[in-house]
């Protein structure tokens, strides 16, 4: 993803006035953040295909008819599981990128790993909703 020298972020004492190194670190961090924003996470699970943005928002979704045959609650569960899998895919890419950029044992990589766990570690839940009477949208497929 980047050709940065991971030694840039080694924990060595800075010489007085080592402004150049600090500025290089800040620039590298900004470039890394911009690269992360361009990542996507993908998953294809049980008839549900999901992609998420670099921030984890659902970007695209495709669902087979087969995934719909057990009703809305089951479908909601499948979508939630697929979104979580896409988040795990994204988190893995982010962690790999930070290790390559900052060094695998660096404080920065550890912070990023913790941050991705906080942001993507828990799957969404089903919202309990009483949908009440059905809405007439026209003919639907016969339930298999």
């Amino acid at each position: 993803m980047t050709n940065l020298d991971p030694h840039l972020f080694e924990d060595t004492p800075l010489a007085a006035g080592d402004l150049h190194r600090l500025m290089a670190q800040a620039k590298a961090a900004f470039e890394w953040r911009a690269a992360i924003d361009r990542l996507t996470g993908e998953a294809d699970l049980d008839g549900v295909r999901v992609s998420v943005t670099g921030g984890g928002a659902v970007a695209d979704l495709a669902i087979t008819d087969a995934a719909c045959t057990d009703g809305g609650e089951a479908l909601g569960g499948l979508v939630i599981a697929a979104v979580h899998a896409a988040h795990e895919d994204l988190a893995g890419k982010i962690r790999s990128s930070s290790a390559a950029t900052f060094g695998e044992d660096s404080d920065q990589a550890a912070t990023v790993a913790h941050g991705t766990q906080q942001r993507f570690g828990r799957p969404a839940g089903l919202i309990e909703t009483d949908f009440g009477d059905s809405v007439d949208w026209g003919q639907g497929p016969p339930r298999r």
């Binding site: 943005t53 669902i63 479908l75 089903l126 339930r143």
Partner: protein, 143 residues
């Protein structure tokens, strides 16, 4: 009582008010920050038959899909879910913008910076208003 005493009293009162405000401000800012961090956006589509919730960072936190929407097949269900998620992102943007404007002012740099972050995390990638389809015939549902 002289005019000088009145001026002094007025200045003292103003200083006391500013001191009180300065003492209370950290607590108000902290409360506002907690409120923003706990922001949840909620969006619906298909006449309320799909409900989606996202957190401040636009990450899906909840979903409900009715049997009626599932019956329409995969393509319609996906469109409705994406519409609900987009509506939830809109809700987050609106809540944070309103809260920040009330706290810091609509034109403040703080409001601008926060709104920019929230907008980036809550993209409007799909039409939030999917509505019922114009035709009663079920389109092909598989991708």
């Amino acid at each position: 009582m002289s005019a000088t005493d009145d001026v002094e009293r007025e200045i003292l009162a103003r200083v006391e008010a500013q001191t009180r405000e300065a003492e209370q401000r950290p607590a108000r800012v902290g409360a506002w920050r907690d409120e923003v961090l706990g922001t949840r956006g909620r969006g619906t589509s298909a006449a309320g038959r799909v409900v989606a919730e996202v957190d401040l960072q636009g990450v899906l936190t909840g979903l409900a899909v009715s049997d009626v929407v599932a019956q329409r097949g995969g393509r319609e269900a996906a469109r409705a879910i994406l519409a609900a998620v987009t509506a939830a992102h809109e809700d987050v943007r609106s809540r944070v913008a309103q809260s920040s404007a009330q706290m810091w002012g609509a034109d403040s740099s703080t409001t601008g910076a926060l709104n920019a972050e929230v907008v980036a995390d809550n993209p409007l990638l799909h039409d939030p208003d999917d509505g019922p389809p114009a035709t009663s015939e079920r389109p092909e549902g598989t991708w």
